[in-house]
């Protein structure tokens, strides 16, 4: 069987246990697919030897019986995760050749359960971007193309490499991280499933920080069921992350019953944007119809502060980023600028950061430093935090009416062409996150599910926003969209 890399986690789990395949075979199939995928630029580091070694061990573990669900499953890991002795650069020049001496909690849980690492995945620099174009490695490319065109399209961002790799079957699933939409937007652009868990569900320890009060890691997979399996494997309290919640983790896979009768699904009127393309409007309506047909009650809801979410986010996230990124100064790790004669430590800091960070990162560090500065703190940072309270309260109010989940589009458009936004105002790029960013501000779980194709033949996604800690129920509703949309399409292989 040469197409083993195309199967899902759930299928592989069954086949591995029935001894129809071995993890070694599955891993080799993935390694070959990765080798052929240079044009997609999804992987920035490949670890085939490590993968082969891990696969052998996984087969041993499987032969003993009772192996964990993720045992023997080949994965791609976003470059934001620290992986021991393997380059972890957040796709930035400033972390050139950084090889951590430790493993992130998420990845160590995966390896402990027998999962396999194929390599590190491309992303926007420090997860700042929506097109993967800020990466020091150059952009990951979307395996999807417009009908009748060979123009290269963005895989979205910041988890663009993860999205590209999963959509092109270069791994069975991948890790992503989501600060404002960085899992859900690329998932929507590439026709895969991406989950941002409730803030605190997954440990952030060992994940290179962008905006700590918003960052959350999650799975990017081919199916909703796979996301449930993957999420179970990485969730749960971690002493090393003080914001990780000390809650029991329910069985998310078991929550996917396909029964949503009597569930209340909210449609927020504020998400109907002026100038929204008809096909997005139609996709959204179709999604609501599918859920209604499955027995859910569709109700109109209001999230009145939605339009302030993006401005508040672009104060809060850069503020946290400017603080988090202060550590990159050329002293402890990564790039250090070469000094000219007569230059001292101040020049070393300045030149190191000037050479090491890309333009988008610099923009956000400067915005962040500005909104945190003594004279402007109350007017910008403090005010944005108060707006955040109002945005969270919007959701609290809707959920207190008995709404079980909220349905919205995942993105305002399908994937755009690489380079198309180059001369645009950066704010136009930020608009990609308009439907997703509220979820991070409120700390809620969200999932993007492929739900149809655009007029140009590109995938479009719908987003479900769940109640806090109710990822299982959210994924159950998502499974109805997945089945109803019958989205089992794959991109034509051109790479």
């Amino acid at each position: 069987m040469t197409d083993l890399h195309k199967i899902t986690i759930a299928e592989a789990r069954t086949k591995l246990r029935k001894k129809e395949i071995t993890s070694v075979e599955l891993t080799e199939s993935c390694i070959s697919a990765v080798e052929e995928s240079k044009a997609l630029n999804a992987y920035c580091v490949k670890t085939p030897e490590l993968a082969r070694e891990q696969a052998k061990k996984a087969d041993e573990l499987l032969s003993k019986g009772n192996a964990p669900d993720m045992c023997g499953i080949p994965l791609g890991i976003k470059d934001l995760f620290c992986t021991k002795n393997i380059n972890s650069q957040a796709a930035s020049k400033i972390l050139t050749d950084f090889k951590p001496e430790y493993e992130s909690t998420v990845t160590s849980r995966l390896w402990d359960q027998g999962a396999i690492m194929l390599g590190k995945l491309n992303m926007d620099e420090f997860a700042m971007g929506s097109s993967n174009e800020t990466s020091v490695y150059g952009p990951a490319v979307n395996p999807w193309q417009r009908d009748g065109s060979d123009k290269k399209l963005t895989a979205g961002g910041s988890s663009g490499g993860s999205a590209s790799a999963v959509a092109a079957d270069l791994c069975l699933a991948a890790t992503g991280t989501d600060t404002g939409g960085s899992i859900r937007q690329p998932a929507a652009f590439t026709g895969i499933v991406g989950v941002k868990p409730t803030y605190g569900r997954v440990s952030r320890w060992g994940i290179i920080a962008f905006a700590s009060s918003l960052d959350q890691a999650g799975p990017m997979t081919k199916t909703v069921k796979d996301s449930a399996i993957f999420l179970n494997a990485i969730s749960g309290h971690d002493d090393k992350d003080s914001t990780s919640a000390p809650f029991e983790v329910p069985n998310f896979e078991a929550a996917i019953t396909g029964d949503i009768r009597g569930k209340k699904i909210g449609i927020p009127k504020e998400y109907r944007l002026d100038g929204m393309p008809d096909e997005i409007e139609k996709l959204w309506k179709n999604g609501a119809d599918m859920l209604r047909d499955a027995g859910a009650e569709i109700v109109d809801v209001s999230l009145p502060h939605t339009k302030y979410a993006l401005p508040a986010y672009y104060v809060l996230a850069p503020a946290e980023a400017s603080s988090n990124l202060a550590r990159y100064d050329g002293v402890r790790y990564g790039h250090r600028a070469t000094l000219r004669s007569g230059e001292g430590i101040d020049e070393m800091y300045a030149r190191t950061r000037s050479e090491g960070f890309g333009d988008e990162v610099k923009r956000r560090v400067m915005v962040g430093a500005y909104v945190l500065s003594a004279g402007f703190y109350d007017a910008y940072y403090r005010r944005a935090q108060r707006v955040r309270t109002l945005i969270k309260k919007d959701f609290d109010d809707v959920y207190s009416l008995g709404v079980d989940a909220i349905l919205t589009p995942a993105t305002p458009s399908a994937a755009f062409g690489l380079g198309e936004m180059k001369n645009e105002d950066p704010i136009k790029m930020y608009l990609n996150d308009v439907f997703t960013v509220t979820v991070n501000l409120a700390g809620l779980p969200g999932v993007s599910v492929p739900a149809g194709l655009s007029s140009e033949g590109l995938p479009l996604g719908l987003q479900l926003i769940g109640r806090p800690w109710e990822e299982g129920e959210m994924l159950n509703v998502a499974s109805i969209l997945e089945n109803g949309a019958e989205f089992n399409l794959k991109p034509n292989k051109w790479w």
């Binding site: 001496e101 803030y199 605190g200 250090r336 001292g344 005010r383």
Partner: protein
């Protein structure tokens, strides 16, 4: 100002959870080699930087 935030508390954490505390004790250490491994310049067990003179 378009949004009225009068009397609204700033949100600093989405989870209504007090920061967990632990005993103030050493839990880790003796890892000088590992800590210095990625340093662009280190000498005698320390990070090294250009000379600072005031």
């Amino acid at each position: 100002m378009e949004v009225d935030v009068e009397g609204i508390e700033p949100l600093t954490s989405v989870s209504p959870m007090a920061l967990p505390r632990r005993t103030d004790a050493v839990t880790d250490g003796d890892q000088i080699k590992k800590i210095l491994k990625n340093a662009p310049d280190s000498r005698e067990g320390f990070f090294a930087v250009p000379k600072v003179m005031e």
